[in-house]
Every structure is written in C-alpha cells, then in structure tokens.
C-alpha cells in the first residue's frame, strides 16, 4: 500500500471534474422540481445528451457545437415528457421512467457507429499566469469551461429563485398550481420551460461525460448518475448550494476511493465502491433534518378545470 502515490492537488482537481455531470443534471432537476414537476427521466436525457454531443462534435470537429447539440438533444427529449405530462395529463412517475428507458434505447441506436472513436478534445481554460500558481492554479484555474459553467449555473439558479420575479412565479407554481392559476399565471407554460431547462442541463451533463471526462462513447455510459442526481435534489432539500456541496462530496469520495483502490488499501473493493453513495446520502440526510419541505405540488397533475 502506498498512500504517497495520491497527489492531493490532482485529487481535488479531478474531483471537480467527477462532480460536474452530477451537478449539471441535479441543478436542472432542481428547477424542474421547484416548478412542481417530478421528472424521473434524468438518466435518459443525460445519455441522449451524451450521444448527441458526441456525434455532433465528431462530425463537426467542434466540441463546443457538440455541447450545444447535447443541450438541444436533452431538451427535445424532455419535450416528450412535457407533452405527456402537461397536455396528455399522464402520470409523471410512469412518464419519467418511460423516458429513461426510451433514452437508453434511443442512445444505443444513435451511437452504433460511434463506438471506439475518439472525439475532438476540449481545450482547457489555461489562463496564463494564474493557472501557473502552484496548488491553486491546477485546482481552480486550469479546467475546461463547462466545469465553470456548472458552478455559475448553480449560482445563477440560486439567485434566480431567490431574487427574481420569474423565480418567485416558478416557486409559486410548484407550491400551489391552483392558486397560481387563479392569479392568472400560465402554469403549463412555466412548467414546460422548467422541464426544458432540466432537459438541457441533463443533456449537458451527459455530454460532459462522453466528451470530457471519459472522452469516448459506450452504451449506458452515464451509469446511474441521473438517478444519483434525483436523489441529490431531495437530500439537498431543493437548495442549489447544497446540491453543489453534495455533488462535490460525491465526486470527491468517488475519486478518493478510486485512488485508494489503486494504492491497494486493505479494504474490500466493494466497500470502497459503495462509499460515495453511502457517505453522500448520510451527510445530506443529516443536513436536511431542518424544516424545509418539498414543493407542495410536486408530482401533482395540473388541469385548469373551469
């Protein structure tokens, strides 16, 4: 066993990379759930985003175009969910599960000819001078742009929900859609926009895995991150900063346990592999003990009768 092989600077830098897909998907789902919609299709939207982004960036040679395509792909798939739940008034849980299964199948079909190809690399944002600072430089200033977008998105969603009128209306729709409707707000429109935002975020998170973190395409490569994102939103009590904390905690322990495995520590691999899930949930459960409930209309179907 050789713990000195673990470089703390590299560890922190790579935990941020490991956490970003989860953060992106979870922050999108947070907005969706704040609007009162439970979309269990995060995993499906992520994997469709992963293959859409991968395919477009391979064809065009531009990783940026790929990321945009991933967001569009995720949002398009989420529109299917929006149609089912907001217009056809289908059950949200069943529609979300169907969306995940559909997304997994669709992505496998779309990705048949992309297995084993290497996508164009995404340039890191090596800012001269400050990225050369020892320790802080590699941790904070030499990542790809998407990682910063993830953090900015988290801050943006927090500020939007807390300070803006749009955020207030969104929270109101999630709290009581009947009251929001009576006051003249368009519940369906707010919810569709939220669902599409969630889809775009999930798609971006998926593409982050296939273009940056792993850079390759394999079937089912999101490997349950979408489900973790769903759990993270709940355990973070629908608070953006707690989502960020939970995502980094999960990413950090994940990277750490991989390093420990490589260092040959005398703990069975199975325990190490389950540790990120256990510890993240444990910490967030303790933190969510305060009184902060779910949006009151979460998962309820809205129909403007009379």
């Amino acid at each position: 066993m050789d713990l000195s092989a673990i470089n703390p600077v590299l560890l922190i830098a790579s935990l941020m990379v490991a956490a970003t897909p989860l953060l992106l998907a979870a922050i999108g789902e947070l907005v969706v759930e704040k609007a009162g919609v439970l979309n269990l299709g995060v995993e499906g939207m992520m994997i469709v985003g992963a293959i859409s982004g991968f395919a477009i960036s391979v064809e065009s040679g531009s990783p940026m175009l790929g990321l945009i395509a991933a967001m569009i792909g995720g949002a398009l798939l989420s529109l299917l969910f929006a149609f089912l739940t907001q217009f056809a008034l289908a059950n949200q849980v069943a529609s979300g599960l169907a969306l995940t299964l559909f997304g997994l199948g669709l992505s496998a079909l779309m990705g048949q000819s992309y297995v084993g190809i290497k996508p164009p690399a995404m340039a890191t944002l090596d800012i001269p001078v400050i990225s050369d600072i020892p320790v802080i430089g590699p941790i904070l200033f030499s990542h790809d742009p998407v990682l910063y977008i993830g953090i900015a998105l988290c801050a943006g969603v927090w500020a939007f929900l807390k300070f803006s009128r749009g955020g207030l209306v969104l929270r109101a729709v999630g709290e009581s859609h009947d009251a929001a409707h009576a006051l003249g707000y368009n519940v369906i429109r707010v919810r569709i926009l939220a669902i599409m935002f969630g889809g775009a975020c999930a798609g971006l998170g998926g593409a982050y895995i296939s273009l940056i973190r792993v850079p390759q395409w394999t079937e089912g490569m999101t490997a349950g991150i979408g489900w973790i994102a769903l759990a993270l939103v709940v355990f973070a009590s629908w608070k953006p900063w707690r989502v960020l904390l939970g995502a980094y905690l999960f990413g950090g322990i994940n990277v750490l346990q991989l390093n420990l495995q490589a260092a040959g520590i005398a703990i069975p691999v199975e325990y190490l592999a389950m540790s990120p899930y256990l510890i993240t949930i444990l910490v967030l459960v303790i933190m969510s003990a305060d009184k902060s409930g779910a949006p009151a209309s979460l998962g309820r179907t809205f129909h403007a009768s009379q």
Binding site: R165, L168, E175, A179, A182, P295, A296, Q306
Partner: protein, 515 residues
C-alpha cells in the same frame, strides 16, 4: 362625462355553459360607483362562474360587460387587474411556503423591490386596521390573517371594484365586524364592492343592493336593508324553508368522556391539541365551533381513531378506547364522518356501493371469511339512498359524480344508518344547499332523540345554535368551557372562539371612520 354618473360595471345577458350544466343563463345587473353590491345564491347557483368571468378567468359564451361605459372583455386576470378589478378568493389563493410579501408580490402586475413592498404592506395594513408582518410565512398564519394578506394584496393595486367571495366564512364575529369597517372605509373612498355570500344578516347590514341567482338565472333584485332575511332565503331557494324540529328528550348517562387529550399534528402546518376535556351524554348534541384550522381536523382524527392517543384520553361508556384504531372503534359503535367529502369521507372514483362497504363492513356485517357480501352491500347502499333522498341514477355511480349536497347526504346517511352510539361529524352541511342541509340536521336531531351521543364540529354558527344542546369553541387547539347553547349571544360566542385573534390594536386604529 358619462363614466362618472353611470354604473361602474354593467353586465348584460352573460351566459356560460359547461357540458351538462348551464352555469350562467343570461345574467344581467349593474354595479354602481362606490356601491356594495351583494350577489346571493345557493351553492351551484353560478356565483363563482360569474365572478370568474368578471375577473377574466373564464370566457363567457355570450353576453357583454361594460366598464365605465367602455366594452370590457378581459382575456386573462392581468387585463382585469389592469382595469381595476381585484378579487379576494373563497378558497384562498395563497402559497403556504412563501412569506407574506412574496404572496402579495405574486398578485401584483409590477411589484416594487421587496424592501419597498414590505414597507408598503406595513403602511396599508396600518391605514386599514389590518396588522400584518410582511416577513411571516403564510402557512403559520390564522385564517383571519391569511384573509388580510389577500385583502392587502388587492388594496395595493388601488382597485375600483373589489370582489369578495364568501369572505366571512372563516372569521370570528369580531373579525367580521373589523372586516366590515374596512369595507365601509373603502366604500367611502369610492371603491365598489361585489360581495358574494349566503349569510343574509351580513348582507342586510353591509350591502346597498342585492342580485339573487338561482340555477344560473337572475331571479330577483332587492334592497337588503328593506327585505327580510327569510324573504331573501326563499328567493334563493325558490321554495318555502323548513326549519328542523327537535323533540325535547332528557339527556341520559355520559357516553363519551374525553379528558386531557393532547396531540401533536400529523402535518407541519397542523394544530396541536392541548389538554381537551369534555363529556357528551346519550341523546345530547355537543356543538364545537371555531375558525377553521384551530384543531377541528385533528380532534376528529383523535375521536375517530385515525390518530391513536393514550388509552384513558377517550372513554366510551367507561371503557378506554383512546389507543384503538377506527375499525375497533366502529365495532364499539363509535362512528365518524370527516369534513372533506371527496378523498376523506368517500373514495372519489369508487362506486356508492363500494363506498358504503368501506365504513359499513363491520357494523353491517358485509364481509365473511374475507369475502364481500355484494348483494348485502348493495342493499345497504340502496337503503342509504332511499332514506336520505340521495339523488343518483343508482348505486353503481362513482362518488365523484354526485353533487356536493347529495354526496354529503350519502356520507352522513351511511353513518347514521349504522345505529351509532357515538357519532362525530365535521362540517356536516359544508357547501350543501339549504334544503339538503335541513334534512341532514334533522337526521342528526332524530339520531340524538334515539339516544346517541353526537359531536358536531362546524364553522357555521347558525347551524350549531340550531341543533346543539351545549356549545364549545376550539381556539388554537384548546377547547373553551362548554356552555348550554340556549341563550348564548353572538358576542359571547365570539369571545369563546378567541375574540378577534389579536386585532384589538387594529380596532383602535380604525376608529373615526364611518362604520
């Protein structure tokens, strides 16, 4: 200018039909400048649909509205608000998890920044004698305070016409008085008010003019101050009213004995029951009043067995039942009918037969060895329908398909026909038309005459005074002293209900305005 002398809002020939029912049929009337206009009618008379059309939530099929002489066709509430229409809803349009200022901001077109808004809320609430802290979470407020939030939300928009849909149903008599002072002050400032209610005495004191709707049609107009409440009631119902009669039986032994009942609520916005004591004798009706949300639902849950408590907190004929579940209590003859018809008292999508089975299985012995006796259940359901005059095509109909009054008759009848020894009902005639309400009250009186102990929890004080032998009030989870119902004055009842919920300060602030 014509707009200064003519009516503020003139409605002519408004019609709105829904599949199977005409909610409004060529309704016409005028609302004058600074007039308090009452809209009277029973449940289902079309009052709510009519105001929704004025507020832009529903589009009329035909007919026209004129606002200050100009055609008025609000496509959405935004347009109506822009014209100067504001509305206080019957079922509050508030968001429990948001604070007062956020709730107010949601009802405004372009609200100022939060800090200015909080200051404005304080200012308006002081001017009109409605004290309110903008930073409190709405879920923690009492019903009266919640209504203040709605009223202030309207006042901040400087409305020309304020629509109030059944505003006093959740208030204590003292709070009603303060509300009326506020409304009179608004009227003196030139605001018109459309006041919807079926409480006739209130309308007689407050309103200048009344329009009466029945089954969607305008059936008459009157000046409330010059018309008796009975005449108005008969215009609403279109029939002569029968008042329930009671036989004067002597009360028997104590049947239900509740002592030291304390209970934490099941949901975070519920009320904690605090040390409740009362007894009910056989043949007696105990009426429990109080503003909604003061522990009524929790008390019913504790008495019916939905929420088990300590064994000795509730005794029936001397035996401890506090820790028993609903089925065990039903076996002992303790039955209950909760407030919410759809979802609590009845399963909406199940047939009347199935709903009859749900509470009747034990007392009526409708199951054996785990199998359902469907023919017995059907005849039990038929019996309920026949005895209580439930208007329905048959027992196969889903509970959801019945009108509120019919389903309420079914729900009450289902319990009454099981020969209860103790019956607890919450809001037995809520949202039920006058004729059905009289029938339900009569059945409760008859049941008591047969020796059952009955607890009626209700927010309708007139109903409680009409049928109960003794009266108590719930206030923040505490029960007042129980007093004989005969001879209680409205003032005394109001004080038992907790007075004006801390609104005395407001009372002083509102002095000097014409009341």
């Amino acid at each position: 200018m014509m707009s200064d002398t003519g009516p503020l809002l003139s409605i002519s020939g408004l019609t709105k039909a829904y599949p199977g029912v005409v909610a409004n049929d060529t309704v016409s009337f005028d609302i004058g400048q600074s007039e308090v206009h009452a809209l009277l009618g029973e449940n289902g008379a079309g009052k709510s649909t009519l105001v929704k059309m004025i507020y832009g939530l529903v589009k009329p099929d035909s007919g026209t509205m004129t606002w200050k002489g100009q055609p008025f066709t609000p496509a959405e509430p935004k347009a109506a608000r822009a014209a100067g229409v504001a509305m206080v809803f019957q079922h509050f349009s508030l968001f429990d998890a948001l604070n007062v200022a956020e709730n107010v901001a949601l009802g405004m077109e372009d609200p100022p920044p939060m800090r200015d808004l909080a200051r404005k809320i304080r200012q308006v609430s002081e001017t009109y004698g409605l004290p309110l802290d903008p930073n409190r979470t709405v879920g923690d407020l009492s019903a009266g305070e919640r209504q203040r939030v709605e009223i202030i939300r309207c006042l901040l928009q400087d409305p020309k016409l304020l629509i109030m849909d059944e505003p006093t149903s959740v208030l204590t008599p003292q709070e009603v008085e303060i509300l009326f002072e506020t409304l009179n002050k608004l009227k003196a400032e030139g605001t018109s008010i459309l006041y919807i209610s079926h409480k006739l005495e209130e309308i007689r004191t407050l309103c200048d003019h009344a329009t009466i709707l029945r089954l969607g049609k305008n059936v008459g107009e009157c000046v409330p101050a010059e018309t008796s409440a009975r005449d108005m009631a008969e215009m609403m119902v279109g029939d002569t009213l029968q008042t329930p009669t009671r036989s004067t039986e002597k009360a028997g032994d104590v049947v239900l004995d509740v002592s030291g009942l304390s209970l934490e609520p099941a949901n975070p916005f519920g009320t904690t029951l605090k040390n409740i004591h009362f007894t009910v004798r056989g043949g007696e009706i105990l009426g429990l009043g109080g503003v909604a949300g003061n522990g009524q639902d929790e008390l019913l849950a504790a008495l019916s067995g939905e929420t088990p408590t300590w064994p000795d907190a509730i005794k029936v004929k001397g035996s401890e039942v506090g820790n028993l579940g609903p089925s065990a209590r039903r076996r002992l003859g303790i039955l209950a009918a909760p407030e919410e018809r759809l979802g609590h008292a009845a399963a909406p999508d199940m047939s009347l037969t199935e709903n009859a089975l749900l509470t009747g299985a034990i007392r009526e012995e409708l199951t054996s060895n785990g199998f359902v006796n469907w023919s017995g259940t059907t005849s039990f359901a038929e019996n309920i329908i026949k005895s209580f005059d439930v208007r329905t095509p048959g027992t196969h109909v889903a509970a959801r398909a019945l009108s509120g009054g019919n389903l309420q008759k079914f729900v009450i009848g289902r319990e009454v026909l099981q020969r209860p020894e103790v019956l607890i009902v919450n809001q037995p005639t809520w949202g039920v038309d006058a004729a059905a309400a009289a029938a339900i009250r009569q059945s409760l009186l008859d049941l008591a005459a047969g020796g059952a102990a009955i607890v009626v929890i209700s927010q309708d004080l007139d109903e409680l005074m009409e049928i109960s032998d003794r009266f108590g009030a719930l206030n923040e989870g505490r029960l007042s002293d129980i007093r004989p119902a005969a001879g209680l004055t409205i003032d005394e009842i109001g004080l038992m209900m907790g007075g004006a919920h801390g609104m005395e300060a407001a009372h002083i602030g509102a002095e000097g305005t014409p009341a």
